[in-house]
Structure formats: C-alpha cells, structure tokens
C-alpha cells in the first residue's frame, strides 16, 4: 500500500472514530429538524389581535378600516382626544389614529397623527397610509366629477407570459429557482470548506503539539502528509454529508407523517378556490419542469470540479496556518484573510448574481480563484459560456497548485517551529528556507 493511501486511511479512520464526529453526524440532523419544526410551529401560531382606536372628526375615513385577523379597529370619534391619549398609555389600545376635519383635502397631507406606546410596524404604517391616500384620491376624483365605480370597472390587470427566444415558456420565479439551486451549491461549498478546513488545521496542530510530527516526517515527505490529511478529512466529510442527507430525508418523512404537515395534497380551502388552485398547480408543474430543464448533470460535474479545486485550495491554507502556530488560539490573526473571500463570494453570489448573473462584478468574481467556486456555481444555472467556465477552472487549478506549493513550504518549516507566535513577515521568510 502506498504511503499516501496509508495516511489517508489513518486520517479518515481517526476522524470517523472521533466521538465528536459521531455525535455531530447523528445529532445535528435531529437538531436541524427540531429547529425547522419549531419555526414552523411558531409561525403557524396566531398573532395577538391588536386594538386600534380611530378618532375621525371628518367621519370620512372610519369606514375604510375593516377588521382583520391581527387588527381590530374601534370608532372612538366621540371620545375626548385628551382622554384617548391617556388611555393609550394605559394600554387599552395599541394606538389611536387622530384624523382632524379639514375643508381642503390637500391639507390632510400632514395633518393625520398616530399615537402609540410602542413604535408601529412598517407594514402597519404603509397599510394605514395607503388606505388614507386611497380614500383621499377617490374623494378628489369624485369632487372632480369622475365616477370611481366606473374607474374600478375599467381597471385591467396584466400578467405577462415570459417566453425565451428559443420558444420555451417560463414562469416568473424561475430566476429564483436558479439562484436557489446555485446558492445551495455555493453555500454547501463554503460550509464544507470552513468546517473541514478547520478540521485539517486542528489535526495539524494536534500532530505538532503531541510532537509526533518529527517522527512522521522522518519517514515521509511533509507534502505527502499534508495531502493525505486533506484527502482523508475530505472523505470523512463527504461521508458525514451523505449520512446527513440520508438521515435528514428520513427524519423529514417521519416528521411529516407524525405532524400531518402534508403539504402536497389539496385542502378543502384550495378546492373551494378551484381556478386559483389549478393555476397554482400548473405553476408548480412548470417549476418542476424548469428544475428538470436545468443542466443538472453538468451542474453536478461542475460542482464536483469547483468543490475539489476550492476545497483543496482553502484547506492547504488551513494546513499551513495549523503548521505555523502552536495552538488554536494563535490562529485568529490568520483566519480572517481566509474567511473573508469566502464570505465575499457568498454575498456577491446572493446580491449581484441574482440581479445580474452576467454583469461585470459577477463575471470578475467568478474568475478570481478564491471566490470562483462559490460565485461561478451560482452563475452556472443561468447559462455561462463554456470558455468562461474553462478559464475560471484553469485559473482555479493553477492557483490551487501554487497555493499548495506555498502552503507546503510553510508547512514544512512550520511543523518544526515551536515556541513563538509567527508573524506574516516570518511566514514569507520561511518560503525561502
């Protein structure tokens, strides 16, 4: 058996046998499902009904406010405003809306006041303001002699059908699906790099502090140890992800059965709204069709390529950091520059790729090797020209080789250095040893 495979095997077994690995692997899906269930439960709970008083001197607006599930409106126009303000502070009402009487409708622009103990939510403010404006608009139109009932009847809502030049029909929201799929891949890569990169780093530090390192590198080359460590840890990580996927699916199925949260079967309410439901159904089918239409196979292949390139790139950096320090607390100063491009990649992915998948910013960051595994994976569902992908992959692997070379140098010197906290300047000096 080759030396490399010996190291990979040992690293893999020592990771998998570790108690924290076993606990993490089997407990985190349970925690994940529990949190998901909790969020589901909390959001399905009815919110408390809020009582709003309306003091309308004009008598024009009070009927515009209809009770809803979360807000109940009370006409308090007959009560003395001073008294009302007191009762707000005694919390009889969440808040009171004061509408004075004005002859000129234009004067209402600044005249309406809302008094409350707690600041109202943005949604409530927007809703209330739009109700008031709407009423004023209609009043104004009526005053000008325009029939608002007729106006309502003449209103026509347009929904565009989106069709690609190739003739396929698409639905609105498909971009969201694409970014969703890309985001999942990109996010997975980031999480994997952070979790398993850290594992590689800790394992290097462990060898350093236990002082076995000198015995090992008297038998093999440091780069063999480093690569074996990275690959062995990766395999353990992939095993963990596979177990998570399987356990997660099983738990979700079980949870669905237990809680009866069956989302796919039509409810009576839906049936009563049959036309809308049919519309929804056809949208769901189209969405599924769209997902199927995505180049899933090639995306999986690209995921694998970027995953390997990105993960190896970063975990060699993590290995070098581990080799440079004596203990984990000293790693902080080196961690930030490693985490930052990862974070940047995810943010660029979410904010820029979503709006403009082929814009300049997205294109540039999908070329830079430190962000390309995340950004390019998010762009791929939108269709990226092959030469761009090829260039990005070539850059990624060229950098990967360069970084592994640099990391191996730091690693080789660092693992035998004890006692002092290295500075960046020293790390650069090590490259020349």
């Amino acid at each position: 058996m080759g030396v490399l495979s010996l190291i990979i095997k040992r690293e893999f077994i020592s990771k998998v046998r570790n108690k924290s690995f076993i606990v993490m692997t089997f407990v985190s899906p349970i925690i994940f499902v529990a949190v998901a269930a909790l969020i589901g439960y909390l959001s399905s709970m009815k919110t408390e009904v809020k009582h709003i008083g309306i003091h309308d001197e004009s008598g024009m607006f009070v009927n515009e406010f209809k009770n809803s599930e979360s807000y109940k409106y009370h006409d308090v126009s007959k009560i003395d405003p001073k008294l009302l303000k007191d009762s707000v502070s005694q919390a009889n009402y969440e808040g009171v809306l004061f509408i004075p009487k004005k002859d000129n409708l234009k004067d209402y622009e600044k005249a309406i006041e809302y008094v409350s103990e707690d600041s109202p939510s943005l949604g409530f403010i927007a809703d209330t303001e739009s109700k008031l404006s709407e009423k004023l608009l209609r009043k104004n139109l009526n005053n000008q002699g325009i029939d608002t009932v007729l106006l309502d009847k003449s209103q026509i809502d347009v929904t565009m059908h989106l069709t690609k030049a190739s003739g396929e029909e698409t639905v609105k929201g498909v971009n969201e699906i694409k970014i969703g799929v890309g985001a999942i891949f990109g996010y997975l890569i980031m999480m994997f790099i952070i979790i398993y990169g850290n594992m590689v780093m800790r394992s290097v530090i462990e060898e350093k502090t236990s002082r076995i390192i000198e015995i090992i590198i008297s038998s093999i080359k440091p780069i063999q140890l480093m690569m074996g460590k990275i690959i062995g840890t990766t395999l353990a990580g992939i095993l963990q992800f596979v177990i998570w996927a399987i356990v997660g699916v099983i738990l979700l199925v079980v949870a669905n059965l237990l809680l009866g949260l069956n989302t796919s079967s039509p409810t009576t309410e839906m049936i009563s709204k049959a036309p809308e439901y049919n519309q929804l159904l056809s949208n769901v089918t189209i969405i599924f069709m769209e997902i199927k239409k995505l180049p899933l196979l090639s995306m999986a292949v690209y995921f694998l390529i970027y995953f390997i390139g990105g993960y190896f790139l970063y975990s060699s950096l993590y290995a070098a950091i581990g080799a440079a320090v004596d203990n984990e607390t000293d790693t902080q100063q080196f961690m930030f520059p490693v985490i930052m491009p990862l974070m940047l990649g995810v943010y660029i992915g979410f904010f820029t790729v979503m709006n403009e998948p082929h814009g300049t910013v997205a294109t540039i960051f999908s070329m830079i090797p430190f962000t390309s595994p995340i950004v390019m994976l998010m762009r791929i569902p939108f269709g990226v020209p092959f030469y761009e992908i090829a260039l990005s992959i070539a850059l990624l692997f060229a950098t990967f080789i360069a970084i592994v070379w640099v990391a191996a140098k730091i690693y080789r010197v660092g693992i035998l250095m004890y006692g002092k906290k290295p500075t960046w300047k020293e790390l650069i000096k090590w490259l020349k040893y």
Partner: protein, 307 residues
C-alpha cells in the same frame, strides 16, 4: 572500519543564521557514535538532515556510499528529542502505522512488534491508548517504534531524557544489544557518563563548527597531559616535595583513599612514569599511582571554553 554514513562538507543556513558550517564526519559501521555539543550547536540540524527532514544548502551525505535519497528512510530509525505519539490512537495500531510508513509490510511489522512487546513485557498494552499510559510507558513504546523496522542506522537524540533510571538502563542495554547485532548508533546527548560508557566514536560540534572528532580512545590520548596521581606515606613529605619540584610540575590534589597519605598530581614533562616511580620509592610506601585520564566531560568543557 568502513563508514556507514559519510557527511561531506555540509552547510545549512536558516535565513542569515548558519546552523552547520562545512561539517564533515565519518561514522564507522557498527559503532556507537556520540554527537556532542552544547545547546544550539547544530546537532539537531545535522540529525534532521540525515533523516531527510530538511536538506543541506551544500554538501552531501552518503549512506553505504550512496547519496541519501528517499528510499533510505527505511534503513534509518530516529528518536527525536522532542517526541510524542498520537494520544488517542491505540498503541498497536500506532506502531503498525509508523512501521508501515517506513516501508515495511504489515505482517512483518506485526511480527517485529510482537517480538519487542514480549521482550519489554508490554504485550498487554496493545489496545491501550497513549493517553492512558504513563510517561515512562509511552517512552518505551517510542523506543519500540524507532527500532521496529530493523534499521541499519539508529539515531537517538537525547535518548535518556524523560526515562527513570530503571527504564533508562533497560533502553541502554537494548541499544547495546542492537549494536552487537550490527546496527550503527548515533547518539546525541549532554549526558557525558553515558558517552563514556557507550560511545566508540565522538564528534564535538560547537557554534555550527566541528571542533574535534575521532575514536574516544584517540581523543583521550590527544588530551592526555602525562599527569599521574601519586599517593605516598612519606617519612618527610616536605623533602619529597622539594625533590620532585626540581624535576616535575607538582600540585596538591585529592582522591579517595583509605590512608591519610600525601596526595600529589605530578606532571611528567618529558620523563617516563617508571622514572617517577623510581624517584619516589626511596621516600616511603607508595599507596596510589595512576594516570589522570581526561574525562569526556573535561574534554567537552575544555574544548568549548577554549573556542
């Protein structure tokens, strides 16, 4: 004896700091070779180069006449000064893993491991983790790991540090037995009494330079001062002293003896020991007469402080 390891003009620099300055050594086959020197002299740097952990800036190292290359690691066993093992790995698995890294097969490693575990009576530790063992126990495992692949050349960096006297003695005997079986041993240590006891050859490194090397006997001869310790129950000590002063250099000295006799250290200058004996015999009963042999400790301190 044919050298098993030749170090030829090895230079090693870390940045602008020189760790080894043009070092050349021949280590004879089957010898116990003591590599001596104060802390920071460059011993560990040299040992790391022999183990191919680091590489010299210039110069070369030959093992059995062949330029050192990766396949030689299986012929070298190395116990570093700063040593340790995987804390949470089982003793047996760990030893097998380290032996396999040296390039021997799993079956062969198992066979050897069984031999050593029986020999050191530690067979029941196989399934224990290192963290469950005491420091001394872990050191024994460390020794087994070093010799398991039956290397021709064994390198021990401060081998006895951390061992209690009983275990240190066991290890010392094992090392000497390995020498009997034909292994060559390089020793790096400060403990001069173990050098006196075990080494055939030594080299002294100080501030990256080699100050002296050769067989222990030759070096001692080189440092002999032709001085003898003399003990005599003289009838008239002062007369004897005056007489000796004319021909030799004498000093009062001290050594352990049963009588309260006159104790002198006498430097012969160019005369022979027999002449001195003849000169003193008429003055009384000679109780003690021996050559002062310089200890390695003396040589070490003398050489280092002179440079």
């Amino acid at each position: 004896m044919k050298p098993i390891l030749q170090v030829n003009n090895v230079v090693k620099k870390y940045g602008d700091k020189t760790a080894l300055n043009n070092i050349s050594l021949d280590i004879p086959q089957g010898s116990v070779f003591g590599l001596l020197g104060p802390n920071g002299a460059g011993k560990t740097s040299l040992i790391r180069i022999i183990n191919q952990i680091t590489f010299p800036d210039s110069g070369e190292i030959l093992l059995d006449g062949e330029k050192l290359s990766p396949h030689h690691v299986k012929h070298i066993g190395y116990m570093p000064e700063e040593r340790g093992l995987y804390k949470s790995m089982k003793v047996g698995e760990q030893a097998l893993y380290l032996a396999q890294l040296k390039g021997i097969s799993k079956d062969e490693a198992k066979k050897q491991l069984k031999y050593w575990f029986d020999k050191l009576e530690i067979g029941d530790w196989w399934n224990k983790k290192i963290q469950e063992l005491s420091k001394g126990m872990a050191q024994k495992i460390q020794f087994v790991v070093t010799v398991l692949h039956q290397p021709k050349l064994l390198i021990f960096d401060e081998p006895f540090s951390g061992f209690d006297p009983v275990n240190a003695n066991i290890i010392k005997d094992e090392i000497l037995e390995l020498k009997q079986k034909g292994s060559t041993i390089i020793f790096s240590t400060h403990r001069m009494e173990s050098v006196e006891e075990m080494c055939d050859e030594i080299a002294l490194i100080h501030k990256s330079d080699k100050l002296l090397d050769g067989s222990l006997v030759d070096i001692k001869k080189q440092f002999r001062s032709n001085t003898f310790d003399l003990g005599i129950n003289a009838l008239n000590p002062n007369q004897l002293k005056d007489f000796l002063k004319a021909k030799y250099q004498i000093e009062d000295t001290f050594f352990k003896s049963l009588d309260n006799e006159l104790k002198l250290s006498v430097k012969l200058n160019d005369r022979s020991a027999n002449e001195l004996l003849n000169d003193v015999l008429p003055f009384g009963q000679v109780t003690h007469f021996s050559e002062k042999i310089p200890s390695i400790n003396d040589i070490f301190i003398q050489t280092v402080t002179n440079n």
